[in-house]
Structure formats: structure tokens, C-alpha cells
Amino acid sequence: MSDGKLHNADNTCWNCPAAKFRGNVDFRGCGQSRRIVPKGEDKQLMIECRRRDELGHFEPNITFEQCPEWEKMEYGYMLKNMKVMILGMDGYLGWTLSLWLANRGFEVSGIDDYTRRDCVMEKGSHTVVPIPRMTKKLEAARDELDITLNFRKMDLNDRKKLREFIEEVKPESIVHYAEIPSPPYSMVDAEHAIEVQRNNVLGTLGLLHIMRDVVPMTSLLKLGTMGEYGSPLTGRPLFEGLFPNDAILEWNDREWSLGGEMTPRDPHSFYHVSKVQDTYNVYEACKYWWLRSYDIMQGIIYGVHTDEVAAHPDLRTRLDYDEWFGTVINRFVTQAVHGIPLTIYGEGEQIRGMIALQDAMECMTRLIVSPPEPGQYDVVNQVSGLHKIKDVAETVAEVGNEKFDLDVTIQRLENPRVEAEKHPMEVVSRKLPQEHGFDPKVSMEKEVERMFDLLTKEEIKKRIKEKKHVIMPRTRWSGEKKESGVLEVYKPGEKEKGGYEGRLDTE
């Protein structure tokens, strides 16, 4: 990219979902072999192009830069009208990405069975940013942004229906957001743990089989989480899923290369376990069936803004603040608006990777237009910064106090979770910036300010108040159902900084 090229300019048909692999040809004896052998002396692996029939059979190495079907856009070369299917279209990320992509010329389809709405309702909460029914959202997308989303109400685990829809649409990329994304929800009791694992693990496993049969060339963008890695107390770097080539295991005066092997996973809830299980299922499917996937180890997402969701109140995406589905910054801002001290668990020295909503959308777009090679299981750590939870609380409190004239305080609670409260953290996140041209654009202060702007609207403040009982954590990893006791309340700026600092390795 240093030579001014777009990040995916040198990708080839080998990466392109429009390529149909047809076998190897040995033209030395005007011969033909039908078996697909990826490497072989003087044998040409040949493909046909779904979009350029006139090329006949050819070797898969036209670059995106050379191919007229790939056009320059803001985030790299994009396959014209690329068909992207979003599983979990109604959710916080699914909806935002749908509008984002469709507004940039992608043909977007998607499914959802409103599991998220049901789960949040079941826990007695609601999204703090009101969202209308799906039909109204789709209408608003058409009226306000002039985009059409091909949506079907469907359960990810209804494999018959899903297969039919995928056969009908033939998506060129599938983004899989259709999982229940909550550690505390998975720790409520046996039923919740089982439901989370059933939905997530079996849903993904079924999807992989459908992709094998119907769209093997389509890339799967599977959402993992940084939480799969845990937070090793040794400070060992969290590589991007697989060990780099020069990693070495040394033991008993002997050495082995770890290059290319899966790095250790240390999940810390049954939800995270479901994500780890997904990781292995996707990894195996790529190995067995030549599927291709990015496993996206996403940091905690926060924020409310993209131009598309901000275009009209009916286009907004949901924002949860309850203990089960609210993510940390989103909860903090809501708490600040409502006047509750921001809830830090334990020491508050936990370090987490985070990324603003709009930056996350950009990352996803860059990955969608850079599909992995056939059989390639690749992992990216999608974070724009590492932050200590108590520092995040300070930032939210400062923005609230200085720009919105609030009186925000911070409280430390007994930690309902089983997790390290003080730990080093080094995250390697090189692929997005170096291979995919990503450069974060949204600072935490800026996004937090936008959130206050929205959440301090009267109708939203009212909604927070209506469900204020869902804010304090009661789901403990031990199984007890008891609100966490308050260890300490303090004002921002009172605490001295210290302890470990996160280290984000992007170069």
C-alpha cells in the first residue's frame, strides 16, 4: 500500500467469489484432467468466471486492479453490486452494516428471527434507542436512503429455509452476526447456557454445511471475539489466531516451530466457549471443503453513529444497556445520562480491545472486498485501541461532566464474573492496518460525545428510566442471583493511574 495501491489491488481470481473452479488442464499433450489439484508442474488450474462468461476457462490470476468487475471505492476494489448476506440483520451490528453496505452499492440480503429482541424482552429490558419493527425499518431504508434490503424472517437453525434462501440469492460474501452475543446471558442458568451454545454452535455448523453444498466460493465473515483468547497473566501477545512463522516452543532443551498453529484459547464464559467451538468448526470446514473464512476477533464495539443510521430516527440501530446485552461503554454512557455511578467490576484494571461502530463497519467492508483464498482460514483481531475499564469510565465521566454538564461518578462493584482483574495485555492487530489498509478514524471521546448527544434526548432518557432496574448486575458466574455490592464510589480524576498498560502491536 506504500506504493499508493489499494489494499486489495493484487488479490486475484483465486480470492474472487465469482470464480468457479473447474479442474486442472495439462496442455502439454492437449490433455485434460478433471481432478482439482492446486499445485502441479505445468498444470493449469482453470476456472470460469460467473460474471465474465466470454473468458471461457482461464487461470485464476487476474488481479482486482485488472478486472473490470472490480471497481475502485473508498475501501478498496469492490466487486460490482457484490452480493452480501447478513445473518442477524436486525441486530446492533447487522442493521448498521446492512445500511452501510447497501448505501455503498452492495446488494444486501439478510435474515433474522428477532432473537435479540426476544432475549432482551425476556430479561425485562428494551433497547434504549427505540427501533421500529423490521418492516418499518426496511421502508425507511427505501424512503430515506433509496436502498432495498432483501430481508427474510428466518431462524439460522432452520436449515431448510436458510439453504433455499442462499440458493436463491447466491451471496458472494456471508457475514455471520446471528449469534447470541452475551457472556452474562450464557451464565444465567442451564437453559440459557444451552440455548446460547445451541444457537451459536449448531447454527454455524449447519451454515458451514450449506455453504459447502451451495456457495463454496463465498467467503464467510464469522464474528469471533477477543474474549476467546482470554487475558493471559504472562502477558504473552495475543496473536491473530494463529502463531506467526517465527514463533517457537522451547521445552526441555528442545525447540519446535509453532508457526501456523492455532494459538491457545482461554474463554471465560459459556458464550465465549461457543465462540471457540465455532472457531474450530470453521477451521475444520476450511480444511475439509476448501471453504474460506475470516474469523474476526472483534473487540468490544461501542457507539451509535454511522451516517446511515443517523439519517432518520427509524433507521437507528438498537442500543442495549442492560447487564446482559449492554456492552461496557454503551452502558457507561447510559448510566451517566441516568445519573447512576458508572459500574466497574472489581479492580477495574481489566484491559480490553475496543472499536467504535463506524470503524468496525469500515473493517468489515475491507474484509468483505478481500476474500481469503480457497481453503484459507484466516483470523484478524479487529480492535482500534486497548483500554483499561476504569480509564474508559474516566473518559465517559469527563465528556459527560465537561460537555453535557452532568455530575458523573464511578463505582466499583463486587465482580460478578470469574476473570483476572489486573493483567497485562498485548494484542497483535497487524492484518487490518497492514494488509487491509484500515486506519481508525473515530476517537473514543468523539463517539462518546455523539452517544451523549443522542441519549440525552428527552424521549430516550425516559426509556432509560423505565428500565433502570436492569442496569445493576445480578448474574454471577457462581450461579448465585444477587446484586453486586458496592466496594467504592469515587469522582473522576481522583484515582492515580498505575498498573499495567495495554500494548497494541499494529506494525
Partner: protein, 424 residues
């Protein structure tokens, strides 16, 4: 007794039998030796002549000329491979790239066209069409769609899997006979359809000769008998077809190119690299993407030389005003190429000398024809200029054959002349 088909009316029918890659001397030899008795008797009734193939003498170029009656400058097929415009990416041009009309586009007549090479995917015609090699998917190699079911039931194979020949000659031969048996079944099935023109091409002959031409030459070779038996089978099927013909029905037989033993394979890109005309990356690769800045020319199989033109290729070097100088330089290099004191290149053709028509612009700038026994190669993966490999036979230019039972042949026929015999 003649086995007349039910569809025979007053109009005489026309049957065209192709035998891919068979040199005129081979067919004459096997007929003379009594190993192809049906061909022998046909030779006594009609006229046979050597035929000149297209340049280069590659099956898909030849068959494209045969069915269209046009030279490559008009039909646009110059080899098994081509480069996609503006790239160093190879494609394998098939029927979709053919710029001239094959005879079956005349809807006045009804056709059965079985196994003509380079005609994939199958076109919709007035009749039945089954493509020959290279046909990666049988489903797209047949038309109309209802034909697919018939072929699948008989476990029809378009081609032998040549990968087998690399592992075991014996297995390869078994497959070759099996494929021929399926082809016979298919022809018999389609013979019962209504048609005016029936064209059947045997392609196993080309495969057999590529891998085992030495077995034909050497009567002591362990597979000599099997080689000849294959042609006996072809002859038996030809006899069967002849028996089905009426008195006035016409029969044309032909091959698309000849074949001879390979003395040496010649890596022409290695020659260019040694002369500093071709620059490649450090890592040896079979890909033309490995062509680097500073390259003046490169070669595609078999002997097609392309100037690396500035306005045509991503790392193009040659400007318009430099073309003539470079062409002269490259011609000199190849004309001087020798192996054990023997000239390797018989002739270097400039494209304007051998091609005419609207597609000439896309033609190679030079085409080399080799001296006898030298197999020209445009591979990008090579070690030495001269090398041996698994292949024993190579195509030849001047000794395809053309036979007609009923019509006079043109003098010194060329592949483009066959179309007239079909249309007449």
C-alpha cells in the same frame, strides 16, 4: 446388406468422421497392413490426400478452421491458450471465443455433432450437439438438455483422464478403450435421430499418440499391439458406419494434424531469457505473471512469440517504433537456434504473412514452425533449453489427412478447405 436408417428420405446424407491427430502415413500404413480393413476398402473407393493443418498445428485451432472454413486471423483461435486482454493471465479459448460461424449454424439442415474438440460449451443447434475436449462439465457439453440424461445413463465420457497416463500407461490404455466404447454407444444412439449431417470425431487417437507414439514406431514395444488394436477398433466402428450409409450418402474422413516422434522438447522462453529478451522473477513459476519489467517478448505454446507491447501488457516495454527492430532481433535468435548442429526452427512467420482477417491484431507477432522432431514449448517453468518428458508424440503441420468417398479433393488441401466439402 445396407442397414438403412428410418430417417433416410430422398436427400443424400452427409457423414464426417474425424480422427484427431492421425498422420496420413499412419492410416495408410495400418490399412496396407490389413489392420484397418474398412479404411482400406474405403481408400479403394474414394480419394485421400495429405492435408495441411493450421498454424500453429494445435487441435483447437485446426478444428475451428475445419468447421468454419476460416483461417485463425478470421476465427480468432490461435492456440490452446491465450492471454486475457491487459493481463498476463492465461485463458483457454473455447467456442465462446470463436469469431466465425461453424457450418451447423445453417438451420436449413439438421445435425448430430458428436465430440468436436474446442466446441465447449455446446451451442443450441438444429439437432444434437455433444462437445469434445476440453469439456469440464458434461452438463454444459450437451444440447439440448434432454441429451444429458441419455449420456449419463451410458456413463459417457468426453475424454480420457490424461492424469492416468502419468501414473500408468496400462490404466491409461484401459480408459482409452473404455471411452471409445462409450463413444460408439453414443453414436449408435444418436444415429437413430433425424439428421442430414452427422459428424463424429475420435479423439482418443491424439491422446494415444501423445503418450505412446514410440509404441507405434517400435514393433517390439510392449504396447505396440495395444496401440494398433485401438485403431482396429476405430476401423471397426468406421465399417459399421459405412454399412449404415445409403448409395448416395456422402462420407468425408479427416484428421486435424499429423504426429511424429519427439526428438527434443524446446523451451523457447529459456532461449529468450538466455538472450536477455525475457526477464523473469527469481522464483521459477509456470505463470506468465512471472514476466518482469524489461521483457521484450515471450512465447506461448507451442511457438507463438508475442512482443511485450507497452499499450498491451501490464509490464509492457516495446513501443510502436521499436517493434520492427525487436522482431528482427528475435527472428535472428530463433533462426540461429541449433541442437547438435541441427537447425531447430524451420521457419519463422510474421503474423501478416500467415493470417488475414479482423482478428489478426490479436495474433502472435511471430509463429515458429519447428524442424522435424522438435516440440516447441512456451512453458514458463524450465531448466534447460532442451529437455525430455513423458510425452512421445508431437503434432505435425503438413501430414493430416483428408478423404472423400464421393467428391473430388482440392489440390494440396488445407484444413480451411474441409468446410466446402461439408457445405457442398
Amino acid at each position: 446388406m445396407k442397414l438403412m436408417t428410418g430417417n433416410h428420405g430422398s436427400e443424400p446424407k452427409k457423414v464426417i468422421i474425424g480422427i484427431d491427430g492421425v498422420p496420413v502415413d499412419l492410416i495408410r500404413d495400418l490399412a496396407d497392413r490389413g489392420r484397418m480393413p474398412n479404411v482400406e476398402s474405403l481408400l479403394s473407393e474414394g480419394e485421400m490426400s495429405a492435408m495441411r493443418a493450421a498454424i500453429p498445428e494445435i487441435s483447437n485451432v485446426n478444428w475451428s478452421s475445419i468447421v468454419t472454413g476460416k483461417n485463425p486471423g478470421e476465427h480468432g483461435i490461435f492456440g490452446f491458450t491465450d492471454l486475457i486482454k491487459g493481463t498476463y493471465t492465461i485463458n483457454f479459448p473455447d467456442r465462446r471465443a470463436l469469431k466465425a460461424s461453424p457450418f451447423w449454424e445453417d438451420e436449413e439442415r439438421r445435425y448430430v455433432i458428436l465430440n468436436v474438440p474446442a466446441m465447449y460449451p455446446a451451442p443450441e443447434i438444429n439437432g444434437i450437439f455433444v462437445s469434445g475436449f476440453v469439456s469440464p462439465q458434461l452438463g454444459k457439453a450437451v444440447s439440448p438438455d434432454s441429451t444429458l440424461n441419455v449420456l449419463e445413463k451410458m456413463d459417457y465420457q468426453v475424454d480420457v483422464d490424461s492424469e492416468k497416463a502419468h501414473k500408468s500407461k496400462r490404466l491409461f490404455l484401459d480408459q482409452l478403450f473404455e471411452t471409445l466404447e462409450k463413444r460408439e454407444k453414443a453414436y449408435k444412439h444418436f444415429w437413430e435421430e433425424k439428421w442430414d449431417v452427422f459428424m463424429l470425431v475420435f479423439t482418443g487417437s491424439d491422446r494415444l499418440e501423445h503418450f505412446l507414439f514410440d509404441a507405434y514406431i517400435d514393433e517390439e514395444h510392449e504396447y505396440h499391439e495395444r496401440f494398433v488394436e485401438y485403431f482396429e477398433e476405430v476401423d471397426r466402428i468406421i465399417g459399421d458406419i459405412v454399412d449404415r450409409l445409403g448409395e448416395d450418402d456422402e462420407l468425408v474422413m479427416l484428421s486435424d494434424h499429423g504426429m511424429e516422434l519427439i526428438k527434443e522438447n524446446v523451451n523457447l522462453n529459456k532461449v529468450l531469457e538466455d538472450e536477455g529478451i525475457l526477464k523473469t522473477g527469481n522464483k521459477p513459476s509456470e505463470r506468465y505473471r512471472n514476466i518482469r519489467e524489461g521483457t521484450k517478448a515471450f512465447v506461448l505454446d507451442p511457438g507463438r512469440v508475442y512482443l511485450n507491447k507497452k499499450d498491451k501488457y501490464p509490464r509492457g516495454k516495446v513501443g510502436k517504433d521499436e517493434e520492427e527492430v525487436f522482431l528482427d532481433e528475435i527472428m535472428d535468435v530463433f533462426e540461429e537456434l541449433v541442437c547438435d548442429g541441427e537447425k531447430v526452427i524451420e521457419e519463422v512467420h510474421r503474423k501478416d504473412e500467415i493470417y488475414f482477417g479482423e482478428e489478426v491484431e490479436r495474433a502472435p507477432d511471430l509463429v515458429l514452425t519447428p524442424a522435424s522432431g522438435y516440440n516447441l514449448k512456451g512453458s514458463m517453468r524450465y531448466e534447460d533449453v532442451f529437455e525430455q518428458n513423458v510425452f512421445k508424440g508431437k503434432h505435425t503441420l503438413n501430414d493430416a489427412f483428408l478423404y472423400s468417398k464421393n467428391s473430388d479433393l482440392p489440390e494440396e488441401p488445407k484444413v480451411e478447405d474441409v468446410r466446402n466439402l461439408i457445405d457442398d
